[in-house]
């Protein structure tokens, strides 16, 4: 019992999923009464580690100790019984129930007669104690996102949790709500409770945490007391340094702008501003990369450009023409192709066959129909060509797309999107989830596009990919462009800082600062 001051210790946790090791001998020791930040990019293994700790996943190997004692976390109920609870990014609340009803939901007591009064009193007590202002009788749908988060926290407190995991809690909050949340977290630690704070925002790590652990690609890369580190160091740990210089590519004459965004703003699905004054351009023959941690407005950016989401203000100009809030069809016809993030959910219709998917953007043109009647033979002939040219491996053209491998369905999507006459390609995570061969194929298609004079906006979380392909990289953070760097002046550390929301001065200023 030599480790009494640790609330939670995770030792050599390994968790494999088919094809990936999500956690590779990861260690995490969290002191009692502290706020411990868990930092890392998407896919670094933070969520897997926390799912292990909350009993949702079982590790393949490794040991977990809770308050010094070895624990077998077989299910979330066991984790809760041991005082470990999590507030997820997406809340798990019943919209039509009141706050108090949500809090008592799933509790074994009271067994039969549900008397809300004592529960409401208890909620009020937690509210007062930890400055979690919320009306216990309000229905969830009446509450703001920040208030709903408070309900989730009270729910955990009510269940006696004293190790609280917060999964990117500030992603959905306004700055004022972030202040209030931090106040609550400080009160909780002052009261002896322990917080694990998952984030990728460096300023928050610096402000709120006592200690920080950085994960990258499923492994521990760094751990220290927050006061002994600085944002620059954390950014470089988070992004990694193993990436080399940008490889050579044939030079291409850069033409005029094919896409210009002016002061573009848009709302997200929850009605919160997710794009906040974006200024950006993409020129013919250029690949312009957008780097950033997921959820900073990338998806919405692609949707606004392609007409799938309304711009709240600002302008989208395609080839010099103002196309703000035009219908998707007009934007397609203006020469914009789109490789969406969600291949099977948006880019393809998985239950339909290859031909029906391949002609999705072509069927309107006269070449595949006579009047309103489709010419099936021509559609199949054209698709056959396409499948051969892009080496999509499939038994035949009547095969449903859902039966294709990830790489082959992405090839089909790219084949369709690059085969029509277009001037701008918007590609969102085009290689995510693909194996090395398929990734190479997709990248070479994108480079060929560039050589043929197409301007590409490449949105990706994979810095290596951006560096390999892009002429310029802009960093998006909370719906703003933090800065843009050219291919010849890439500085990973700087990109890492911007991705984590730390404003960096322009290059020149920084050098002079460093020389002082």
């Amino acid at each position: 019992m030599g480790t009494v001051d640790y609330a939670v210790e995770m030792r050599d946790i390994t968790k494999r999923f088919p094809g990936v090791i999500a956690n590779d001998r990861v260690n995490l020791a969290v002191r009692k009464g502290s706020i411990h930040a868990l930092l890392g990019e998407n896919g670094a293994g933070k969520s897997t580690l926390m799912n292990v700790l909350t009993g949702l996943l079982r590790p393949d190997s490794g040991e977990i100790r809770v308050r010094g004692a070895k624990a077998a976390l077989r299910s979330p109920a066991v984790a809760i019984a041991l005082g470990i609870g999590m507030v997820h990014q997406h809340f798990r609340l019943v919209q039509t129930f009141t706050v108090a009803e949500n809090i008592t939901l799933g509790m074994p007591r009271p067994r039969f007669r549900l008397d809300m009064a004592p529960i409401e009193q208890e909620v009020a007590r937690f509210s007062a104690e930890y400055s979690l202002a919320v009306n216990p009788r309000a229905k969830i749908w009446q509450l703001s996102v920040g208030e709903q988060q408070r309900v989730e926290i009270i729910k955990m407190l009510y269940r006696g949790v004293d190790v609280l995991i917060m999964d990117e809690p500030t992603a959905v909050l306004t700055p004022q709500e972030v202040r209030e949340l931090f106040e609550t977290l400080r009160r909780m630690t002052a009261d002896g409770k322990t917080i694990i704070f998952i984030t990728h925002k460096l300023d928050e790590v610096m402000e709120i945490s006592d200690r920080v652990t950085v994960l990258r690609a499923g492994r521990n890369v760094f751990s220290c007391d927050t006061r002994d580190t600085n944002p620059r160091e954390l950014a470089s740990k988070m992004v990694g340094r193993e990436i080399g210089r940008a490889p050579q590519r044939p030079s291409v004459a850069i033409g005029g702008p094919v896409l210009e965004l002016h002061e573009l703003a848009a709302l997200g699905d929850r009605g919160i501003t997710v794009l906040n004054g974006i200024d950006l351009d993409v020129r013919a023959g250029e690949i312009h990369g957008i780097a950033g941690v997921a959820g900073n407005g990338q998806r919405e950016l692609a949707e606004v450009i392609t007409g799938l989401r309304r711009a709240a203000s600002g302008r989208v100009c395609i080839c010099g023409k103002d196309m703000t809030n035009s219908a998707p069809r007009s934007i397609i016809e203006a020469g914009v192709s789109h490789i969406p993030e969600d291949r099977l959910g948006m880019g393809l219709a998985p239950n339909l066959d290859i031909t029906l998917n391949a002609i999705m953007k072509r069927y309107r043109s006269g070449e595949m129909s006579r009047g309103p009647v489709m010419d099936e033979a021509r559609a199949r002939g054209w698709t056959g060509d396409l499948v051969e040219r892009f080496s999509v491996k499939t038994p035949n053209l009547r095969t449903a797309v859902r039966l294709l491998s990830g790489g082959n369905s992405q090839r089909l999507l790219l084949a369709r999107e690059t085969s029509c006459v277009h001037k701008l390609a918007v590609a969102v995570h085009p290689t995510r989830g693909l194996d090395i061969g398929a990734t190479e194929a997709v990248r070479s298609i994108l480079l060929k596009e560039r050589e043929s004079g197409v301007g590409t906006l490449l949105i990706s979380e994979d810095l290596e990919e951006l560096i390999a392909l892009c002429d310029r990289i802009s960093v998006i953070y909370e719906g703003r462009i933090m800065g843009t760097v050219g291919r010849d002046q890439l500085d990973l550390e700087e990109i890492g800082m911007m991705m984590a929301g730390m404003a960096t001065a322009a290059k020149g200023d920084e050098r002079s600062e460093a020389s002082v």
Partner: protein, 366 residues
């Protein structure tokens, strides 16, 4: 402590053979379940089913009556199936049918002296237009505001049915009808001709033509392609630049027009005047038929005939004392079984014996 647990697992893909068998399975299952109810109410199920079969299919008269009954069901069900292809639940075929009948009756009653070549085409047009309009009312809010069409189409049925009630009790009541809620009879010119010397009428030709047209449009045209993509993945359709809102309105209106045509054919050929009981729920049977037919127009046509037989057979079973409600129940069971077999196609059910974990095992042991 051992506990038996039912586990539903999603299947990778629905097997093609099952797709074909499942409607038959649904019919057999509903007959078996229906037999239990019949037994409980003191009838021999075999005898009842035999009477139903005999009444509907044993002789030329039965078959012709079955076909007559299947006409309005077929027209309504083709519309329901077309809308369902776009993931829309048109529960309003009943109302669209009534409004179609109403508009056709209005044409017939306002042109008593006109020849058939004038009045019948106008009745067809009026019936289809009224049905389309009745479907347009819920289609527009569904397309542009996302208002749930299941509820709006259903509720508009009652409006349509009470509108008909109002007309036959009020302004359209025939003064010589001895206070029965009936309109004046149509002129002979306004009666859709019968075929083959039976009560089978031109509506059957309309319905089969509609099935052929829908089959062609869905499988062979650009618009049919859009409907297919929208039905499979609306997000992909929007991404590909298809106008989903317009297509929702359009397919609902076509569905309404078909049901309206059904109403026109029924009132013109069979009723010959406006009456209260135009439909024993054809528009609702149509929903079951559309799904039993897996939304395929030819299969829908075939299942409509089976359903016509069910209704006609139901009448002859009443001869041995089975109530009309029993036939309704059998229809309901069929819908239930269709939905059940659909679910079984997509999920595999397993019974799992598992050792329940007691709370005490759990927790700290170090």
């Amino acid at each position: 402590m051992n506990a038996l647990k039912l586990v539903f697992e999603k299947r990778e893909a629905v097997s093609p053979a099952y797709k074909f068998i499942s409607p038959l399975l649904a019919i057999v299952m509903s007959l078996v379940l229906g037999a239990i109810f019949l037994l409980a109410s003191g009838f021999s199920p075999l005898k009842v089913y035999y009477y139903m079969w005999w009444g509907a299919f044993s002789d030329w008269y039965g078959i012709s009556e079955t076909l007559v009954t299947s006409i309005p069901i077929m027209l309504c069900a083709l519309g329901v199936a077309l809308a369902a292809k776009m993931l829309l639940w048109n529960v309003g075929a009943e109302g669209q049918f009534h409004m179609g009948a109403c508009a056709a009756a209005w044409v017939a009653l306002s042109m008593p002296g006109a020849p058939a070549w004038q009045v019948l085409p106008l009745m067809v047009l009026a019936g289809m237009a009224a049905g389309a309009l009745w479907a347009l009312l819920p289609a527009v809010p569904r397309a542009y505001l996302g208002v749930n069409e299941i509820i709006t189409t259903l509720l508009l049925n009652y409006v349509a049915i009470y509108w008909v009630e109002y007309l036959v009790h009020g302004p359209w009541r025939d003064p010589v009808s001895l206070n029965f809620p009936l309109s004046a009879p149509f002129s002979d010119a306004a009666r859709l001709p019968f075929l083959f010397g039976t009560r089978i009428h031109w509506g059957l030709v309309f319905a089969l033509a509609a099935a052929a047209l829908i089959w062609f449009v869905l499988g062979r045209t650009k618009w049919g392609y859009e409907v297919t993509v929208i039905g499979e993945n609306p997000r992909a359709a929007r991404y590909a630049g298809m106008n989903i809102e317009r297509n929702i309105v359009l397919s609902m209106c076509i569905a309404g027009a078909l049901a309206g045509l059904g109403g026109m054919a029924e009132i013109s050929a069979i009723a010959g005047r406006m009456t209260r009981q135009l439909s024993p729920g054809y528009g609702y049977s149509a929903i079951i038929v559309a799904w039993l037919g897996k939304l395929n127009p030819w299969a829908v046509a075939l299942v409509s005939v089976l359903f016509g037989g069910l209704l006609v057979g139901g009448y002859s079973a009443q001869v041995i004392g089975v109530t009309a409600a029993s036939v309704n129940m059998l229809q309901g069971l069929m819908l239930f079984c269709v939905l059940a077999t659909e679910a079984l196609g997509r999920y595999r059910v397993r019974i799992v014996r598992e050792v329940a974990r007691a709370g005490k095992e759990v927790g700290v042991d170090g």
